[in-house]
Subunit: 232 residues, 2 copies
DNA sequence: GGGATCGTATCGCTCAGCGATACGATGCCG
DNA sequence: CGGCATCGTATCGCTGAGCGATACGATCCC
């Protein structure tokens, strides 16, 4: 989450506390929140107390956790909500046909943010998390979003350093550029162990009113998943 | 959302603004936010500006909407996240077998809060919304949660006025009490047009470590859905 | 036993936040 | 057309909400 760090206001400090919780965290102690935010202990303690009263945090015996009140607010974000309403039936269809993990994601700057993930009991161990992010260039869903993003976004990404996550990650701008051009031409993008070892993906864009607003992907383990068999 | 209204602090005011957005709202104007919160116009304007900077609100041409930053935070609420991880594969199974709408919900006081909803292209028109709430007594999922809730919760609900939502809503405490006892004995509860006309539901509890923590339900239109056919 | 760390609480200080106010733009109605 | 209502944006003097330095008891470890 790339929002500016405002530690000079109440709202900024409170937001820093809420954002100190990562996608895999459960409970954080007051001391850990202090370490992660850099706020003073007494300030953190006071704000946490108020956030608990406001049902944005829960206080448990082991520390604090993000509360259901925040889940409710998050589910009211209309852009994400509308996308889910539109996409979940299709995601369900896709899952039913393949029994592999289906993702819905949107572009946020230079990252894909996952809106939904439908896998079954035998999910491939993908690093994705609903509400989490991954760099655009190393996932199929990210690449298809990047392929159909405005030129300035692509140019910016291609001119910066591309993070390597596995030995297979595309980090050479020329190679990525060709891959994106291919994705644009075919309307589909692939990933072969570029974000994590052991998984392949195929992804396609979702357009609304002629604009690509999101993408769907299918992810499976390399042992049994052939992404080319799933493209149109 | 039954959190206390603290309008005497920055956090309280900002939370009031965020909570002014209902489950079906898209964009709200500054003036509408002022009306819904009762805050002063200049205060609302200032706080909205700051919430936008912090990516908790988005500013669009028509007004403000809850942002993706809030969606991300909401998805990090660990209790809800853990429940989703556990339940979504089973929800998918159920959807695949029935092609009717599947819900996951938890009890929040005297209401069910919906955590997830999986439906297809021909969903029955249920009033449920992810992140939304309905009274416990008039939905199958709510009744099963109430049936397995602590006695004090049941007693409290049965001693108050039960809201009527349709001509079929159970509003007589004696009738509801019998229905709940039945649900406890059978481990399943039904709804027949009690929350909305035209839909039937069947629901069952989800227990973790011997405690009922959530419930799953199946919802379909009265025209084609026989809830008894779907119970264990 | 001493030190480190934790969570909880207090209090004097001060500036962040407030709301009263102002202004230009827009829309509506007589 | 003019007056009024409403809207969104901005300013500024005032003050109390928020801050952080500090204190304390509890727990753990060496």
């Amino acid at each position: 989450m790339a929002a500016a760090t405002h530690l000079d206001s109440v709202l900024g400090k409170a937001t820093a506390i809420l954002r100190a919780f990562g996608v895999d965290d459960h409970v954080l102690t007051l001391a850990e929140l202090v370490r992660r935010t850099g706020l003073h202990k007494a300030t953190t303690y006071r704000l946490c107390g108020e956030l608990v009263e406001l049902r944005l945090l829960d206080k448990t015996s082991g520390g604090y956790r993000l509360s259901g009140g925040l889940f409710e607010l998050g589910m009211r974000a209309s852009a994400e909500r509308s996308l889910l309403e539109l996409a979940v039936p299709f995601m369900q269809d896709l899952y039913e046909r393949t029994h592999e993990t289906v993702h819905l994601g949107v572009r946020e700057g230079t990252e894909v943010m996952y809106i939904s993930k439908l896998g079954g009991h035998r999910q491939a161990s993908s690093p994705s998390r609903v509400g989490g992010r991954l760099p655009l260039h190393c996932t199929a869903i990210g690449k298809v979003l990047l392929a159909f993003a405005p030129t300035v976004v692509r140019r910016s990404m291609l001119s910066g350093a591309l993070e390597r996550r596995t030995p297979h990650t595309i980090v050479r701008p020329g190679q990525l550029s060709r891959s994106l051009a291919d994705a644009r031409r075919r309307g589909v993008a692939f990933e072969r162990e570029e974000s994590a070892l052991g998984i392949n993906c195929v992804a396609a864009p979702i357009a609304v009113a002629g604009q690509v607003v999101a993408a769907l992907s299918l992810t499976g383990p390399t042992s049994r998943f052939r992404p080319e068999q799933h493209s149109p």
